[in-house]
Symmetry: C2
Subunit: 318 residues, 2 copies
């Protein structure tokens, strides 16, 4: 049996670069696609015309398959979808919403559609909507996250029991070991965010990338659960939010603390104090800013090495 | 290279049954040891004389290796440790505290000592204390849990970089797939709690076991973070706690809501409304109450099946 994720996207490795606000522009996404993975433009932080520009640059930068990630809570989503269709984008990942809304429209334009979910209830909705594959993302992931707090280790086998759709694991994966674990659990591919956010080609501010490198285990926490849960690095802004949450702050109070443009401030402008620093727990395993090519080499070589070990080492013969 | 967990305990399979309050008495622990794993008496819910009784029954029920799990916050811990030493227990797992306190005492009595940790800071403390192996337990685990909320998927590779001590993965593991994932991540063995809590031989109330079977994905949440974080099934008691937490309840208020004996009430007496129902996220993958022998057969056969698939199926050749 061939790998359905590789076949669906016509890529060499079932490694998808997660679409990330302020990180995954055409430079990062094309580098990933040129390495044989699937690069995704993160439309969540782009005005429709900015997305058009990135799509056009993307077409110059790679002849390999690539896609666009669209958070379904995007305010001017009609305009965004029109750009996607007009520019002939062939792969779209939708997230943070109901797949019933846009899947039909995209499929009618011949686009391959993948939807990101964080729980089992949405697996059924994905099937009904007619998506081509599912990304299941666990609690350890960076940025916005589900309310069920189900971790990748329990989510992937759960979802793989619920659906026969090709499954991509996300959340906590940034190494070859993590890839092997994800595939052991029932996924056929992986989506990697944080590791690529810290890549040389990521459009994030260097100060933010250095911050990812320094972020250790226990340095992030799922926050703002009364608004939309988001995993943040524990900086000064986080502490302000956390303190308010401990004291039972209302939705309105939290909205006021959050304000606007926090993610841009932190990730793109490099304000490590007042910005919203979205990253996954796997940041603990990220030690250096590296080019995408090096990251790919390391992912694949660790995957192969550990897999060989699993086969040949007596430790794993049960 | 041989499996160091198997060698350390002289067992056939590197499968440890987690010591669990009100679940793991001599019946469950001896059944696990008789299957070739390592059964652990959960001393956390036993008076010293009750533990002595279980130890004595254990000696009748199995000739295979077994141990005792001791939460270090146990009130009369000196008495408990004396029972352990006097009865000639050979393996002790300590948890929920600093390994520096008791490891030397136990080692001086020739006892093999394993300590349970939930973050990297304690890996160093374990080495300094001289423990023989480490259990690293992720956020998805049932019962009491760390404050860092690090999931098993990120915790295991992190800890395995920090120490060369033999490593046992815990949290979210209840199937052969989970075992294979844990070993891919750098562990040499697994500790399984929830799956055995629902075993026929578990001393939990049948109502609680049936409740585990019914517990789906998203039906537990880490709660009481202002006291000691504990993963609970979302029953009426949980809702009371959760509502208080959302409104910023103080430590004192939460202590009053919690009261005493809640875990016994829920797990041992089967009060599904007012009891504290401690279980891991992996409950979503537990569908039936089964004898330990069947659970072992299923764990091993799924492990072998998925591992063969990983080796032979083109899906996994990267």
């Amino acid at each position: 049996m061939n790998n359905r994720i590789k076949e669906l996207f016509n890529i060499d490795y079932p490694i998808i670069q997660g679409g990330m606000v302020w990180c995954s522009g055409w430079k990062l996404a094309s580098a990933v696609s040129n390495c044989g993975g699937l690069g995704l433009l993160g439309a969540g932080s782009m005005y429709p015309e900015v997305l058009r520009e990135h799509i056009q640059k993307m077409k110059q930068a790679t002849t390999k398959p690539w896609g666009v990630n669209v958070p379904l809570l995007y305010p001017d989503i009609d305009q965004l979808m029109n750009v996607i269709v007009n520019e002939g984008v062939q792969i779209v990942f939708t997230a943070a919403g109901n797949p019933a809304k846009w899947t039909g429209f995209l499929k009618a334009h011949g686009i391959t559609v993948v939807h990101v979910i964080a729980n089992g209830r949405f697996a059924k909705k994905c099937e009904e909507a007619g998506v081509d594959a599912i990304v299941a993302e666990g609690f350890e992931a960076g940025g916005h996250n589900g309310r069920d707090e189900t971790t990748t280790l329990t989510l992937i086998p759960h979802i793989s029991r619920l659906t026969t759709l090709p499954l991509i694991a996300a959340g906590g994966i940034g190494t070859g070991r993590g890839m092997l674990a994800a595939l052991s659990l029932g996924a056929e591919g992986v989506q990697i965010g944080s590791r690529f956010a810290a890549a040389e080609e990521s459009s994030a501010h260097t100060a933010f990338k250095n911050c990812i490198v320094k972020t250790g285990e226990g340095d992030t926490l799922l926050s703002l659960k009364k608004l939309a849960p988001v995993r943040l690095i524990k900086n000064a802004f986080f502490e302000k939010v956390h303190d308010a949450e401990i004291h039972g702050a209302s939705i309105k109070e939290l909205q006021e603390i959050l304000g606007r443009g926090r993610a841009k401030k932190g990730i793109f402008e490099g304000d490590l104090t007042e910005g919203e620093l979205e990253i996954g727990q796997v940041a603990a395993l990220i030690d250096e800013i590296k080019p995408v090519k090096t990251i790919f080499d390391e992912l694949l070589s660790e995957y192969r090495h550990v897999k060989n070990d699993l086969i040949n080492n007596a430790t794993f013969q049960l």
